[in-house]
């Protein structure tokens, strides 16, 4: 690892390769992937101007039974000869829900990672990060007809459940992200944070409505819009039969002919989505599966810091 930071240039290069999806994809365990990414980000943050963000030390308070022993400040005990517990800002107040799209369209990837794999890794990393900060994290896997919901908990063992749920999920069927958002909005009793990880290939109006409901309930919402590089760049050539992932529809096109209008329509869609999010105070992050995985986490942390 030390070799990675031997110079500024090397640092950037090392970090980018560290979060390179093609590198991350080689790690088969989702937990290891999440840890790999989070540790990498945190190491990077130490050396970045973002230092000081995240879980901030605020003050000491007297130990009371029930407090975890690991929070006792042993240095302060040595200095003051009494048990003092470190008090952190925002500690345990956050309830975060990860809404991960598990529709068939997420099971697509022309590169090293599918959108699902990318989304799952990102979600696991976020869960890892949040739980590490003692935030309560819940998970909602959005499917065509139903959702699987893991309620938000702040215990570290909960990460295992989240990772297992993500690991076990096989994306399939149509998209139901809009409906899932609405249900989540209906089910949330407390304000919190909602992280949406999806390709948002659903009715844009319905998606916006779902997000809006979440916002109306006072939730902070961040949308990670995951798209494959092939979807964003349309690198196909020649005559091709394009097939829908979720349905049996197909169409034969001259790729060179349709590329420009396709990218135009996609651009309109992305711009529309971004604008709708912006108008509702929702943080929107467009991620390509070809981009390093830390980008999402960094954007998340930056957003969190700004929101506080």
């Amino acid at each position: 690892m030390s070799a990675l930071f031997s110079s500024k240039e090397d640092t950037r290069t090392g970090l980018s390769s560290f979060f390179d999806p093609s590198v991350v994809a080689r790690i088969s365990s989702l937990e290891l992937r999440a840890r790999h990414v989070v540790e990498g980000v945190m190491s990077g943050i130490h050396r970045s101007r973002a230092r000081g963000f995240s879980v901030e030390f605020e003050e000491h308070r007297a130990y009371s039974p029930g407090d975890e022993l690991r929070h006792i400040d042993w240095k302060a005990f040595g200095k003051f000869d009494r048990y003092l517990v470190k008090q952190y800002e925002d500690e345990t107040n956050l309830r975060a829900h990860l809404v991960v799209d598990a529709s068939g369209s997420m099971d697509y990837g022309e590169g090293s990672m599918t959108k699902w794999s990318y989304a799952a890794t990102l979600s696991a990393s976020l869960a890892h990060l949040l739980l590490r900060q003692s935030d309560a994290v819940g998970l909602m896997l959005s499917r065509e007809s139903d959702e699987r919901l893991l309620p938000a908990k702040a215990v570290r063992g909960h990460l295992t459940g989240i990772l297992a749920a993500l690991d076990a999920e096989r994306p399939s069927g149509g998209t139901g992200i809009a409906r899932s958002l609405e249900r989540l909005a209906e089910g949330l009793r407390r304000r919190g944070m909602v992280v949406v990880v999806s390709d948002l290939l659903d009715d844009p109006g319905a998606v916006a409505r779902g997000l809006s409901l979440l916002r109306l309930k006072g939730n902070d919402v961040i949308v990670f819009h995951i798209l494959d590089a092939a979807e964003l760049e349309f690198p196909f050539e020649g005559l091709a039969r394009m097939e829908d992932v979720e349905t049996v529809r197909n169409v034969t096109v001259e790729c060179e002919v349709v590329k420009e209008p396709y990218l135009g329509l996609l651009g309109e869609f992305l711009a529309g989505t971004r604008e709708r999010c912006r108008s509702q105070g929702i943080h929107y992050v467009l991620l390509s599966t070809a981009e390093p995985l830390d980008r999402g986490l960094v954007r998340f942390l930056a957003w969190r810091a700004k929101a506080r």
Partner: protein, 716 residues
Amino acid sequence: MGFQFFHSILLWGMGLVLLPILIHLLRRRLVRRHKLPTFEFLLRTQRRLTTRSRLRNWILLALRVSAVAIVVLLSARPLLQMAGGESGSTWSPLHLVVVLDTSGSMAYRTAGGTRLEAARKAAERLVRDLSSSDRVTVLATVGERGEGPPGIQRRDQALSRLSAIVQTDAAGDPALAIRRALESLTVPADRRTVMVFSDFARGDWDKVRVQGLRRLLPHAELQMVRVAPEAGTDDVVLAGLTLRPWPPRAGAAFSVSTRIVNRGGSRKDRVPVSLFVGEERVASAELALEPGAEGGTSFRIRAPEKGVLLGRVELGDDPLETTNRRYFAASMGQQLRVLLVDGDPQRGLLDSDTFYLASALRAAPPGGDSSMLVEVVAHYELAKVKWEDYDFVAACNVGQWPPQAAGSLRKFVENGGGFLLAGGDLAARSLPDGGWLPAVLGEPRRLSPPRHPAVPLELQEHPIFGALGRNPGRFFSRVRVGKLFPLSPAGSAAALLTLADGTPLLVAGSLGSGRAAVWASTCDRDWGDLPVHPVFVPFARGLVEYLGGRAKGTASTALDAGEPLEVRPQAAGRDEAVRVRTPGGEEITLRLESPRPLSPPARPGAPAAQERSAAPPARQGRFEGTARAGFYQVLFADDSSQILAVNPPASQGDLEPLSDSALRERLPGVRLAFSAIRAGEGNPARSVEGRTDLGPLLFLFLAGLLVVEGMLADHS
């Protein structure tokens, strides 16, 4: 307007147009499949683009198919047939052969001049429009001898040649001209076109039959250009002229009968007919003729005592002047020198073989001399005889010939003399080397009962029977022949008199410049009674005049315009050259040459012709420039002269044009195109069909097509 292909077989390559279609279909089968979650956007895109994309794909396919088709077409060398003549602006040179019909019928006058003038104008315009790299050959239907390849000229040379072509009164030989035109198409040129400018009158074209044209040049096109067809065929033709007796006797009256045909479609109320002697009109008449009807007039005038009788009969003006005049010429007072050889001399005149013949030939008009100077010799006197002192020799029942006599006799005939071999009991079956005679004699046989001679229908107007009127056969109906030598005509010899069953009695043929005949019977009454019948005198005189030269050569009315004039000085003359004065007054020197020995059918044991020659042959010449009708005067070195009347061939009066289909039948195996030009048209070449090379145009089109294809393909 139509298309032609220089290499039409390459059009089979048109199947290659399926190649782009196959590739298109194959490409659709080999399409790659991709999944795409954002399919909805693609679908919306595709809906928007489908129409345009499909259209573009179809256009691309059409362009590619067209490109392949054009490449195939280019290789097949397409030529566009359209009015305006041959285009010179092309990427390959053109060889244009212009055949101008200069026969008499082309003198037909129209609103804008004669048909020949209209044809020449159109041809000149066509030649002027050619490029400098093109080549031209100019031919005429009259006067093409068929010796050596026709000249291939540049544009300016061809224009000079066109302007030098003159109207003739002769019959054309279109078949020879076309054959020579196709033979001339040997220069390396991609387009080879023969343009024939003619009226296609039946007179010349009805007899045309040319086979094997495709073999001559498979890629040539023959374009038949009708000249001023709108002018019609309205014409009154002086179709025939008969003078009786012929030749006219000095100082005696003779009749001139005309045969006149109205070839036009309207009645002619007053057709003026005039008879001129010299330049003086001595008689005239008028006649009315219904359309298609035939009529005639007859004049009777007196011949001069001596000198030359030059006359003509002339009709009034009409569009075709060529057929309005006929000429005749005769020398008065010249006697034919006749030698009769008696093979069985007898004391009694009536028993003599030559008595009847000599009497018939010596007959003279009252108060006048015979036109023949007759001498009789016995067969044993032949060694002293010089054949060249005579114009005609008749051997009557000659059984023995002195050595060399027969060989020198043949040379005599070749040099223009006339010879008659008559049978008899003593006569040998043939001469010692008589293979040159027009008939082979068989064993004599008796006819029981005796039979009557007959004149074959097609020979009723033969000069031999000139004094016997239109049905000479009737005069022989009472003549009986009881014995004869069977005759087998040789080569082109013709049986002029036969028995009713076709057995030849009199066979005549040509040899060199002379003529010879074999009479199957005797000259006396031994084998038949012809000598005691009235028909014997005119028959014998007609036969001797025909064989001896009075009815041929330079004193004949039988020569048609365009026929060569055989010039033979008098037997004693050895002129190296003579001058020929044409009707236009031009004098042309004609060199005389010794004739090449002829090679008659070889007979076993016969000596070679050279060995038989006793004396160097008399020089002779052949004058080809008789294309205009009128009087031709041959001027010999000794200041003597002979005058010849040359008339338009009767065929030139038949102006009825042959149809396109009839022409196709006569010229099978070659591409024929038809067009017509009008007389007086400002640019007659505009009406002539030409072939434009589409190569450059197609090439440009292909280039443009490829550019568009490239742009569309790039755009995709």
